[in-house]
Amino acid sequence: MIRLALRTLRRRKGSFVATFVAMTFGAVIVMACGGLMETGIRSDVPPHRLAGAPLVVAGDQSHELPRQNPDDPEEDVESSTLVERVRLDAGLVSTLADVPGVESAVPDVAVPVLLAGAGPVEAHGWASAALRPYATTAGAAPGRGEVVLSDGHRVGDRVEVVVAGRALTFTVSGLVDSPEPLLFLADTDLERISAHPGKVDAIGLRTEPGADLGQVRHEVGEALRGTGAVVLTGDDRGLAEFAGAARASEDLIVLAGVFGGMAISIALFVVATTLGLSIQQRQRELALLRAIGTTPRQLRRMVLGEALVTSLFATTLGSFLGVPFGQWLFDRLAGRGVVPEAMVFSSGWIPMVVAVGSALLITLVAGLVAGHRAARSRPTEALADAALQRRWLSPVRLILAVLCFGGGIALFIVTIAVMTGPIAASTAGPSVLLWAVGLALVGPGVTRVLLAVFRGPVRLVAGVPGYLAALNTRTRTVRMAAVVVPVMLATGTATANIYLQTTMVAVANEAFAESLRADLVLTSSTGGLDPDLVDEVRRVPGVAAASEFAGSTVFVGAPYDDSQTEDGWPVQGISAEGAALTSAVRLSEGSLEDLRGDTVVLPVEQAATLGRGVGDGITMRMGDGAEVDVRIVGLYPAREGFETLLMPAGLVAEHTTLGLPTQILVRAEPGLSPAVLAEELGGLAPGVAVADREAVTAGYAEQQEIGAWINYLMAGMFVAYTAISVVNSLVMATAARRREFGLHRLSGATRAQVMGMMTVEALLTVAIGIVLGTLVTAATLLPFTLVTDGSVLPSGPVWIYLAVAGSATVLALGATLVTTWLALRPRPAEATVAPA
């Protein structure tokens, strides 16, 4: 049976190619997502500076969320990744040095500095140079007040190094060969400029010659028991070097999971549509087979077998192409700093198996559906004009459609009722698919209704071709629906995803602008600002108020916080002094003036969840995992979805990777132009930039765009995929009408009239597809926009919609007309005798 199917494939090159392409690209996308996921799970970050240390000890970045009932063994333990670097006590170095098999234990501390003329670099202690090891190419080790650089200088040069907005001068004592710019100071000097004296970032261990690494690792593990530190080996060691790599790989897993799931659903959809269309076109052949004694089961197996064989080849090809494509995606992500560049993309046999497996599963499902259809073809259709299909709704389709719409409506309601703020976007992905699949299932019926609406005007406007097109589309509604569906999916996916992002960005930008009261913002090019700087700023004439600012993510340790997710709570560190003028937060209870020491201001809602009020104490787990008991000094009504905790800047900064406040928010005296004040503040400290409100909000918007960009990239991938299926199905559907075109020509239609007829048909198809796609988008975005900004329409330029609609039109017209033109090339008589 399958042999028979494969023999007949030769005659069906067009639909075979279409199916093959749909399957291949589906596998490529699934495979790429699988590769990203494997990369995230492996999170291989080969060490650079620590390459010479076979073992690296670092803080454990993962932590467990508090449980509601710690005594309940049934309750799931949720774990999460800390965003700030978890540091180690310097005392641990000597402990580790004593572990048998350890030759030496060398602490590593990174301090971001600004090297005049070279830009931001990391400063490290000279002892840690032995961990790569870096050899001096010239000069000698740095002594006090001396520095060793990677390049661009000569021994004896004096260089200026800016640390947290303070300039220090060092003499170059030596040079090392390093692929990335680096700077080594004497260990005592480094300790002096470190924001975390007494703490180290990581400890590199060199083992004694001949020592068994596994054994030493075990011993080190024993020595670390109870310290919360972990031993890293191999390509995990880089995690100690690149702060944020752990978090990034977690984000990568989520990203890959979300888009991988979407990829599978869309691929299923596209493959099912393409297979369905190819079955539709083989109706006569299938009916003949039924008539001469092929059982429904045999037909099902034939269709399924053919699909599976095709899929096997397509998927094999796809999974090979998937590796470079995944690498390409990963490189884009790394280029934008979404994942650390040091991370290695790995796509091994697991994503391959997953891609091939899911592609075969997709084919199985799509093939079963198509086979079911094929088996239903009645043998008498072999005699009739089999291309004429009258069935436009089967009970199964109706039931499935109702289920899909039910799911869509449920998501709609859930989004409106339960979700707040940007989280509401998370239902959008499944929502698009549910509505699209639902509409696709009732596609012929919906197409019929819309056709009835469009047909009148078309006949009025488009003359003879319009008349012919109207007739064609009336009798061939089912066939037309098969082409409308991909257009709907493409426009729906594109507009829903793009406007989702533009709306999210707009909402976030608005919330940010609302929260920003400062006229000017000081930032440091090294990331951190000296804690004394804020006092200097306050002394500058014209400054009404100044507040430090540090952002991080914290968790509530106790009491149990029911509303806490594994993402924790964003926290803003601000200064009590000046906060009233620089922060937009207006307390409903308590005072910002009290935000000193170990204190916190909570959103009203959260305090209610915790059952605590002003004056009560709670335990916070800071960004680096440290537990701090804080007193609640105020409550404020937070904007939904943007709940943020407020704490003293010093407290927040102490528990960040940087260890310093990142910004100083400045309010000018009334009547004083911020521009004038900006000039004044600009000269205050080296490496410090002063930006006005516009620049700061623009900077924030740019940040948002980076986040949104990933989604554009992934959505773009899906849109491209669905666009391929639009072209596929239009080419297939049009090419199959060769005989009909010939008949039109024989009965006196000119080539131009046939082209005109097809233009009108294509436009009708696109118009219906766009209307349905818009419907999908509306159903998806409405709950989201209602929740986030209370409006019915998404925020974003209207040209995006027009561009999507325009592209769909161009694509559909192009695919249809080129195929029609090719089909019209043979003389009409030839075309009519050619096998359909």
Partner: protein, 252 residues
């Protein structure tokens, strides 16, 4: 009578109860073994519908079809298909062959569908019977219309069916090639004792049969034994006139 196919009170309506068309309106007849019967009637009289029902391609709305005493209504779709494959041969007016398969592959298709390996001798014999042994490696598109119909007959005969149904097998052919095809059918009846039921509206074609049954508006309206083209033509004209006189109310 040794009837291979027997139909009793066959009715077939299309569409809904009120708006539907009655294509067959109580047809009862039988086809004897090794007989060649032509079914005639004006266009739209229900000939094709009759053939489809009798051959198990379509299910009648009511009435019985017995093939070698097997009631087709008792069979599931799959059983019916198997029966069609093994016991019934079929030739349509056109589109009989899978364009991607060679002559030989088309002919042996029913055997392969049954999971049987075609015996080369049998295949050769059947192809020789229709005079296409040399063309067995050709694709249908490389054959003339008459040759294609002969391939279709070979395919219908390859399973040695109890009965061969043909729906206007010469409808798309010129007189000379039509004669070849009809001669072939005649020969299969005379030589191998094949039972053949053929729908046609061509009196000349009908003259090849042993017996002609006439259909009009879904009813059996007459029968002729040992027909000649002239007699059939005369009856047809009469029938046409008769059909025209039927009040429209007869079509429900």
């Amino acid at each position: 009578m040794n009837a291979v196919v027997r139909v009793v009170d066959l009715r077939r309506t299309y569409g809904g109860r009120d708006t539907g068309v009655t294509a067959l309106d109580g047809v009862t007849t039988a086809f004897a073994r090794a007989s060649f019967t032509a079914v005639m009637g004006p266009s739209g009289s229900g000939k094709s519908t009759f053939l489809h029902c009798a051959a198990g391609l379509d299910r009648p709305t009511s009435g019985t079809v017995l093939l070698e005493d097997q009631d087709l209504a008792e069979l599931s779709e799959t059983e019916l298909t198997r029966l069609r494959r093994d016991r019934i041969g079929f030739v349509f007016q056109a589109f009989n062959l899978l364009p991607a398969l060679t002559v030989q592959d088309n002919v042996t298709l029913p055997l392969r569908l049954a999971g049987r390996r075609p015996k080369p001798a049998l295949v050769r014999q059947v192809l020789e019977q229709v005079g296409l042994a040399e063309r067995r490696r050709n694709l249908p598109a490389e054959l003339s219309g008459g040759q294609q119909q002969r391939v279709a007959i070979a395919r219908a005969l390859v399973t040695r069916p109890a009965v061969l149904f043909a729906d206007e097998p010469t409808g798309a052919l010129d007189t000379r090639t039509a004669a070849e095809v009809l001669g072939l059918l005649r020969a299969s009846v005379d030589g191998a004792g094949q039972t053949v039921v053929m729908v046609t509206h061509d009196p000349v074609a009908a003259a090849y049969a042993d017996r002609v049954v006439f259909l009009a508006d879904g009813r059996l309206v007459g029968e002729l034994l040992d027909p000649t083209a002239e007699v059939v033509a005369e009856r047809m004209t009469h029938l046409g006139a008769w059909a025209d006189r039927v009040p429209t109310g007869a079509r429900r």
